[in-house]
Structure formats: C-alpha cells, structure tokens
Subunit: 305 residues, 4 copies
C-alpha cells in the first residue's frame, strides 16, 4: 500500500502547480502550495502514509461534518433536519442562499457555510466557548489524538477578515434562524475552522465514519450508525461544494474538503483517508488532492457506485 | 387649497385601516395607525396643511435622498455614480441584490438600503459621527428648521435589531465596497434614519428639490440644479421601492417613502409635499399616503407625464 | 432649431464608432453603423430634422408603447395592469424574469420582451393577423403616415431566429399567461417589431404622447390623457431597459429605444423626438442616440425633473 | 423476500392517500392513486414482486438515466460531460436553470428536464426518430423485454401540453446548446418519456446498473463499468430532484423517480428495484414509493453509506 501511495503522490505532484493557495484568510496564504501528503487508515487497523502527511494545517470546512455529528448527537436526527436541510444548494461554499429574498431551513445545507454557522447554534453548551470545547473534544476523540489544538493565528485572521461569514450570520439572525449573539456564534465557528490537524487525524476521523460510528482499535461506539449514514450521505451529495457531482462520478466516495487544503474521504466499511495539498481549484477544493483520490479510487476500486 | 387638503384627508382616512404599522423596528410599532397628515409648500411660498401634519415621526428612508445629495455635494456626480448606480433593482427595499453571488456597483441603488449604506461611506468627515452631523445639518437647512433632532429611542431600537442591515453592510465589506468599520458606518446610517421630522419639514425639503436647489424665501442656492435632477430622477424610478412603477403611473411625481410612515413628494417647479400616515402597505409604503397623493395629483394635475 | 440639431449631430457622430449594430437578428446586421439622424416635432407644429432622418429602419421595441396603448384602448387601465405589471424588472430586455421558478403578472413589464409578448394577447381581434393589423393602423395614425409597412425580410429573419422570444412565450403559456397558440402570438409580435419607420414617424408618435393623446395639426383626441400618462410613466421607469435609471438622470424624459437603432423621446407638452443611430451600447440602446438626446436636453432644458 | 415485500406494501399503503397523481399531463391524471407495486431482481438472479407490480405506466423521467447511458455509449464520458454537467442544480425538476440570464453547460444536469432534453441531441441517429428508436431498443435490452412500447395517448398528451419543456428547449437553442430543430428534439424527448413499463422492467434495468453493465442471466456486458458508475453517481446526487439529499440520508442508494409514479433504485452489486405508486409528493416523487424504499433499506441494510 505505501508503495502505491508513494507512486500516486509522485504522479500527482505536478497538479500542485495548477492550483492556488487560499488568500481570503491572510494567514492561509502562508501555506506552501507544493505540499502534498496522504494518510490511509485501513480496515486492517493499520495506518499507511506518504509525503507531507505529518504537516499541520487548519481543518476549515472539514470540521463541518464534525459540527453536524455533534448536533446530531445532541439533538437527534429529526430536530437537526428540521433546522438545517440536506438538499444540495447548487451554489458555491459561501453562497447567499436566499431565494427570492426569503430564507427557509431547507435552503440551508450543513456542508455550506451558512448551514454550518446555523449548526453551531444546535450544539449544546451553556456558552459558545463551551460549545466549541465540546466540538474540539469530539474532534480529538474521533482522531484519537488528545493534543489537537486551535491555531490561534488563523483563528484571529478569520475573525478579523470574515465579512462574508458575518454577513451570512446576520442574515440568519434577520430570518430568526439565529437568536443568540451573532459574534459569539461566529467565534465558535471561526475557532472550529481553526482546529489544527494533519492527514493522519483526518484519516482517523474518516475511519470512524467509514465504520459507522466505531473507533478503530477499541471498536467503541461513539455515535449510532444512522448518524454515520446521515453524515456520509450529506458528504456524498454536497461535501465537495459545487464540485460534488464531478467528485461522485470520478471518485465515488463521501468526502469533505476545506480551504486549508485538507480532504477527508470516507470509504464505507473499508477505509478512512486524509489528504493535504493546499493549492486549490476554482471551487475551493484541493486540486492535487482530488487527483490523488481519483487515482486511488481507480486502483483500489473505491467507488461505491 | 386647505379646504381641498381637508377634503382629501377625510376621503382617504378609511385607507389607514387597511395598512399596518411597521414592527420590525420595535419602537416604530408604537405609532398610531390612524394618524394622517399633510403639508404642502406651494410655489407661492405658502404652507398649507391638514390633519396630523405637526406630529413627529422618524424620517427613515426619506433620508436616502438627503444622503445622496450630501454625497453629490461632497464628491460630484461622476464619483458617486461610479460607486452606487442608479438602475432600479426590481426588488424590495432590503433586497440582497447579489446576482449570481457577485455584487457590482451598478447593482446598487441609493434608494435601496444596501446602496444607502454604501452612500454613508461617500460623505466627508473625519469620523462617522462627523459625517452624520453633516447629514443632520443639511436636513435642518433644507427643512429650514434648526431644531430637528435624532429620536434616540428609535435609533437604539434600530441599532439593536438591525440584523438585515448589518448583513447587507458586511456583504458590502466582503465585496470591498466598505473598507471602514462596518459598525461605525451602520451607526451613521441608523442615526440618519432616526432623524425626527414632521410633514412640514418634509414639504420644505421637497420644495428645495422642486425648485432645483434653491431654498424657499431666500432663494439661496444650496446645491447645483443638476444634483436636483439627479435626485429627482432616482426618486421617480426607485423612490417607492418595488411600488415605484405603480406610483409613476398613478401619481406621476418623484417621491420617497419611509417605513416611519412619511412620504416626501417633489412636484418640479410647483411644490413640495410632506405626508404622514404610518400604516403601511405590503411593500413598506404609507398606504393612505399614496391614496392622498393620488387624489391630489388628479385634482391639481401634478403628474409630470 | 435646425442649426442646433446639425451641430449636435456633428458633435455626436464620433459616438457612432463606439457602438455595434445588432446582429442577433441577421437582417439587422446589414444596417450602416455610421448612420445618425434626428427629427423633432415641436409644440409650434413644425418638424425640424437633420442627418439621416429619412432613412427607414424597423421599429423593434419602440413598438412596445404602441402595443401598450392599443391594449389600454381595448381593455382599459385596470384590466391591462392586472395582467402585465409596471414595475422595473432590474434586468435586460430579454430577461427570463422568473423569480424562484414562479412567474406572476407583476414580474412582467410592457417594455420588456416577455411583457410585450403578453401584451399582444390583450389586443382585440378575431385572429392574430387582425390584432396585428390594428396595431399597424394605430401606428400609421399616430405617425400620420398611411404608408407605413412591414419589412418582410426583417420579419422573416426574426421569425426564423427568435429562439429566446419563443422560449419566453412558451414560459408564459406554461404559466397560463398565454392561452392562445404561441406561434400565432409570436407572429403578431414579430410583425409588430418589423414595422418600418423613419425618425419623422417616431417624432410624430412621440408628439401624440407628449400632447397626451391629441394628434398634431387636427388636435383630434386618439386616446384619453390618462393612457398617455400611463405610457409615459412606464417609459420613464423602464423604457431604456436596464439603462433607464441613467437615462432619467442624464436626459430626464420618457423614451423608448429599439435594437433597430431607433429612440422615441417624449417631452411632455413640448415635443416629440425621433432618433436613428443603429450602433448600440451593451444594453441594446442606440449609443450615439443617447448622446444626442443628452446634448439636446442640456441645451433646451428638457428634463422634467 | 416476497413475504417482506408484501408486509412492507401493506404498511405503506396508507401513504398512497397522502400524495397526488400528476395532472400537468392530462393523460397521467387517469392513474389510480391507490396503486402500489414493487419488483426486486436480486443478485441470486430471481425476481421477487408484490402488489401492482404488473401494471403498466409511462417511464417519464426514469428514462433520463437511459438517455444518459445512450449518450455515453455513443460519445464517451468526456464529450458528454463537456455538454451537460453533473452538479446538482438545487432546483425543481423543470427548473429554468439560468443564472443571471446566462446558461452554461455546467448549469445543466442530465436528471433535470433541461439537461435531459439537451441529452437527446447527443444520441446518434440520422433523424430524431432514429435516435428515439435507439433509446427504445436500449430500454428493451436493459429490461430484457422486447415488447416494451410507447404509450401513444400519453405521448400525444405531452406533445400537446408541454409548454414548459418547449420553453426550456428554445432557451437551450437561444444559447446555442440545441442547433437542430427544437420540435424534433422535443418529439424524441416526449416519446422517450412515454415508454410504457412495469415494475419488473425497472427492476431489470436497475439491476444492469447495479451489476455495472452486465445483463442478468447471460452476464453479457452492455456498457463499460465506468458508465454505470457515472450514471449511479448522478442518480445519487440528483436522481430524486430536490429531494435527493433526503433520499440519500433516508434510503441511501442511487435512484430515479418519474412523475408517472415509477421509481428505479440501484443497489450496487446487490439488486435492482422497480416501484410503482402514482400518487406523488410536492417535489414530484412517488410518495408511497419512497416510504417502501425507506423500509426496505432499513430491513435489508441497503444504504451504501
């Protein structure tokens, strides 16, 4: 396996030159566009890795399925679904998904910024700091890594420059979908996006979703299998933004990308995959990362279709 | 004339029962929906009035043409036009006028909230407090009333509840159309909307626009005639939100309404009109106010078409 | 006056080089982009003209106010207004003005293709050929020119290539706004657009609107003054498509442009103006034509604002 | 298995009363809303069925994946993908998916009417009648039923009343995406939608997709496995219109519904399922049919997530 990963990374390294590192959060612009790494946690319980798999980057939108999981664990499926729908928006990640000046819960999607911000209000906690701590704890537990922390520089950078997310949050408030203090909700969201991870962490988290709620090694159940099906289904239809359709055709597994350059891919019952390649395509997905996944899917027949 | 006004008000009083007082700013909900007043400043230099013309209410969107005037006086036509366009949006007053997730200056209009907020950034001043003071001074001068003040209760109410305007302002910032602190810009905007006026004030302001920049009595020129044409033209095409087309057909003069219940109507070369009737129609325009203007236009052949 | 017109045309001739002749109807592409002509019918009853005022071109969208007039004359204001609204669409001339997949009558505007096609169904006649003949007769009467005819080559060219208008018409049918045979309705519309006129014709038609329904010379009333106010108001807010706001600011009179290169401008109580300059700007309005009108408005203080 | 199917149908029969038979094609309104049937072709090669599985109905949108397959078989993946994209539209089945008055190939989706109509132009044939015959032949072959025919009454009904589809087709032409005669393209589309099938046919077709291109019994390969993955992926993200997200969460297999009341569900490597229940939900999907599939998915762990 590790040979295969090395070979794939070599083949795909050229693609890193075709993408561009995200710059809308100034701190992200410091990433090295040439970085490329992968980690795979297989159903045999072993980690396989290659390239820059150990480099740390911020989780960004890859935290969205974790926010969704925490909301499901705190409230159940019905409650969450009634507040944030699961249909594809057909629009970019930061879409103002307001149709004809109206916003309804079924216009939201947990994998798109607006829905993910709303998701923060569904997580339990006496304060938004506590809600964030619970998300961080869940992330650590799923990744099996108690040392995961927040990248304060990225968090501050996002907080300072996040006008678009602020606009989306105030829109939610104006439609009655946020009743708490908007700045506190955003703080929780910005901190969650700034959690620092590496490929191995993402592979481990993906593995728990692939094994429908059980941790590797101990096989301890963290959440009911139906929540895994819920999250995996949403990842399949919307995890790669308005590139989800192409990804379904070309790779064929549930996945989530982040503008930090990470991709987490879930191969149900078989494996969890974490990738890092911060040069992005026009839709905000890791460009070389998608190529690596496409190659891996072809080689190992990963597509679930 | 005063007889005519009395008669018209009597005929139209029934319409006050068909509208609803604005409630999205809690303080506005305290208005009496039965109130109805009018003031006309004629080219003979005389004020004619009837009904609740002396009652004070907040100017709300009727301040938009004054913001536009101040911006024109501070920067000239070309500069302002390049930053906030003049085409109708075809959408409600608080529209998120983002087409396909992009926002361009020609999507903005100074009579719609988003454009009016952008307009605040075009007014000169070393601080947003100073910018607001200049708007207040201009309002006092146009109205010929140095005692005009800000209704602090409404201002605080708007500031506290203005999620939608906050969303619009952060959207402007995310597109680079606001580079200053959003909360300061909004503060200027909320204060300007909270200026307390009566019908006589609005009639006087309208008269200056009708006489293309000259004050009544002294005939002192406050601004070049071309700025009056600019403002009047924009009022005609967009002053009554997405009811502007109907208003042009039925009344036929430039006018601006506000959710406080005020309407300011400009009859070029002939008169300025101020109306107060806080019960609004579905588009946010004073319902009975439009009926009074329709009647007056028919009786006095006010339509410019 | 004629001296002034000659001088203006000379000054504006350069602008003809900046526009482009319409090509989406193949036959229109044959026009000479350098052509520039004007005709003015003044309240003194005299025609003044300059340049290529005698050249014939197809009326195209300038027929829209005539369709509206005929519909008003056949059904009255209330009936027409309930079927085709008068609010600005905020979109281009051939807009698919469907908001959130729904189409309502107040999304239509008689000066935009979709509304104008719907307008054809409101004109009386036992067949669509008869409806068209009535429109042609009205055009001849308003222009005072019984020889006005249809340019068959343009009509056939439009009929063959009008996919977008066909799409709009079938959309209207799918929403129940056209119940007749779509191809017959379109035939009426395409023929109406293909009426061949010159500047003098447009000036005469505009004059009837300026004199609120009375023919020049005889002063015979063709339609009630309120219909003129209706049409002029709609021209002011929407006659120049999504350039109407700019036109209101810069010229300040009701006007209608067509992709054939014509502009008809109405100066209420004072004059009717016809212009021909087939090189268009990006919004489909005669580029040099607007410049001539801007100059004329400044020289003669034509703005009604 | 048949016991399970009988039990499920009994449990779900009540849902047939909550939906409504499609009426926009008059002929469809004749269906019996109480009908409910299912057929399953299992990987053991056996058909299991229950209820009204033998009743015939028109295939309607369930023909879309067959059109896509034929286009892929005729042109390859790259060619087809460049002309009709695969991203979710986030809109209803008959959406006018024009963003900001522009239409691009990546706004289209083969499972939404506009994209499916465009798909007809990608199928080979010297005439549109021949293209349709090839689609019919493919349908017969996939279903293993040489007697499948066109329901002429439904075809004529659709042809007569299909204004919305006509509008969509002319829009495609106006954007250069259809260069052939629109009525001929539509004829092919309407005929394809009017193919008459039963649950057993749909189960057989689904089975070929589930076995990635091989016919049951003979295991003869009809198309490359990658085309099955392409089609199944598109079905998963968009096969149930703007209910695809919910379906992915609740059922978790690729599927396609039609307004005739049919649903075809593909369980990769395991089974093909055909369902008939003509009473539809608000999104145009078979209401009871979805409930049956939800129950079956829970009982047999069909979800691929």
């Amino acid at each position: 396996m590790e040979e295969l990963l090395d070979k794939l990374l070599e083949e795909c390294r050229g693609y890193t030159g075709q993408g561009r590192v995200a710059t809308y959060i100034p701190e992200l612009a410091k990433a090295n566009p040439r970085d490329l790494g992968i980690s795979v946690l297989n159903s045999d319980g072993r980690h396989y890795q290659s390239g820059d798999w150990h480099k740390r980057f911020t989780i960004q939108s890859v935290v969205k399925p974790i926010l969704l999981l925490q909301a499901l664990m705190d409230n159940g499926e019905e409650y969450v679904h009634a507040r944030v729908g699961v249909e594809a928006t057909g629009k970019p990640f930061d879409a103002i998904n307001v149709t004809d000046q109206m916003l309804r819960s079924d216009h939201l999607n947990p994998m798109v910024n607006m829905g993910a911000i709303a998701m923060c209000t569904l997580i339990r906690g006496s304060s938004y700091e506590e809600r964030f701590q619970r998300v961080l704890e869940l992330t650590r537990r799923l990744a099996g890594d108690p040392d995961i922390y927040v990248d304060e520089a990225v968090y501050c950078s996002e907080k300072r420059t996040g006008s678009k997310n602020r606009a989306l949050a105030y829109l939610l408030q104006s439609c009655g979908m946020i009743t708490d203090d908007v700045e506190e909700v955003l703080d929780c969201y910005f901190k969650a996006c700034s959690i620092s991870v590496n490929c191995r962490d993402l592979a481990s988290i993906a593995f728990v979703l692939a094994s429908r709620g059980r941790l590797p090694q101990t096989e301890e159940r963290v959440f009911p299998s139906q929540y895994a099906r819920y999250v995996n289904a949403v990842l399949m239809t919307c995890g790669m933004y308005d590139g989800s359709g192409d990804f379904a055709v070309n790779v064929g597994v549930p996945a989530k990308s982040g503008v930090g350059g990470g991709i987490m891919a879930v191969v149900p019952t078989r494996m969890g995959i974490g990738i890092y390649a911060p040069a992005l395509d026009a839709k905000g997905n890791s460009l070389a990362g998608i190529q690596v996944l496409k190659g891996l899917s072809e080689k190992l027949y990963l597509s679930i279709f």
